[in-house]
Symmetry: C2
Subunit: 232 residues, 2 copies
DNA sequence: CGCTATGTTGATCCATATCAATAAGTGTGG
DNA sequence: CCACACTTATTGATATGGATCAACATAGCG
């Protein structure tokens, strides 16, 4: 693997504390690849051969069942995905495809498991990472089960606004079609949901969102740290 | 803590590989308590003071938001809950209450974190446990987003049948009211869903279910190991 | 034995999906 | 650079799954 990515990857919580020697061993068999947009990387049900690290671009994790498909999460740089499958040596539960042109590091799963077995700091970092992932999914599930689609959209906008710096105006960071299935609704329904949020001070112009009445939207959305905070 | 529970707890994957010394240290400050049914054990948002271990009975993990409430999972003996919050020293994302009369061991979270810091086998066992939990929630989320309530019920019955030994007749292991919110629907809707499944060979008599046409139900439910298998 | 919580059934309403048509981008090759 | 094809976004009409409200039945339980 080219050296120029080492520093970025080394900076991730997951790899920050492990020994230099183990880090080198872990990435000895790894390689970096560039992918164009809309390329399938892995498919659910397959054995987990590689731990993936998104270095640039974006990756969509999605699942299918019986002709239906839904987007489960979006992975942005710099982070890993399918860690749980790698560790358990179990089949992927989700498929992954690039959304944009992406640069992705592939680390052989057997090496991850081997180093996990010998490097205690790495093992503890994995605990922290998995606990974080677990809590994120629990939040996503609460979001799904406790809120209507309109409420999910409103809270999504507030979160996105915060991620974009907190200003009244910001951009959606992916296409509405995908946003719809992330939020668990159809594109048509999302379109109408945006219009419904006009009443609470949301103006939509293409991918550009302007929030004209922050208080009103917040009153409607009722954001909750136990559902919407990504950090804790 | 009384000695008679030690063996049961020691047998859990989570504690099986750690040193005797650390195990003793971990449970030095622990205690076992008996609770009647329908008692609140913890509330979401609170700091995670104790890791809980269900020794007998059953516990419901649920969440609320803005007057709504939903059941997230049911914990049966012998297993732990809220491990992720304990490890991250973060607030609970879910509340917990006893369903039945239950015996529960409480282990101070700070002790769990302390032993996690010094016992490498324990740290690795936690990885395995959390990876398992993570995958379970992903499956639950796929179930929610990809299936209708009728399909969720059909697959639930097949799973429950398997857990009960695979015979044509078996019992629901909790009340329909709770089953409804676990499956993400109202009690009324569950009632009607049961009647709809008559057409696929499901006969309901109180808590007793008889599956008269296994193939027909299976054809409708289309169970999928990547959603319905608890083991992998 | 009656009280209270659970379960069922019916009537109705609402949220969301589906189907269909159109508009607006977006990229491609000539 | 434009014309064409193709995907995405919007809008309208309609269907349907599921929620809500209300009444009643039933079953535990003190």
């Amino acid at each position: 693997m080219p050296q120029d990515h080492y520093a970025d990857i080394r900076g991730l919580h997951l790899f920050a504390d492990m020994s230099d020697e183990h880090f080198a061993q872990l990435f000895r068999g790894a390689y970096v690849q560039n992918f164009p947009p809309h390329i399938d990387l892995i498919h659910e049900g397959e054995p987990s051969d590689f731990l993936h690290i998104v270095l640039s671009g974006a990756v969509d994790l999605y699942s299918t069942w019986n002709t239906r498909e839904t987007s489960m999460a979006t992975i942005r740089p710099i982070s890993t995905f399918i860690l749980a499958a790698t560790i358990k040596d179990a089949p992927y539960l989700m498929s992954a495809r690039t959304i944009e042109k992406s640069r992705i590091a592939l680390v052989p799963s057997q090496d991850v498991r081997a180093i996990f077995g010998v490097d205690d700091a790495f093992a503890r970092a994995i605990v922290s990472e998995l606990a974080q992932c677990y809590r994120s999914v629990i939040k996503a599930q609460k979001n799904l089960k406790l809120r209507s689609s309109l409420e999910r959209l409103a809270n999504y906008l507030l979160r996105q606004q915060l991620r974009a710096g907190g200003g009244a105006e910001f951009e959606l960071d992916f296409e509405k079609r995908r946003l719809a299935t992330v939020l668990g609704m159809t594109p048509e329904n999302l379109s109408r949901a945006f219009k419904s949020l006009n009443a609470y001070g949301v103006v939509v112009e293409g991918n550009r969102i302007r929030i004209t009445d922050q208080d009103d939207l917040t009153r409607f959305a009722k954001p909750d740290p136990l559902i919407d905070d990504f950090s804790t």
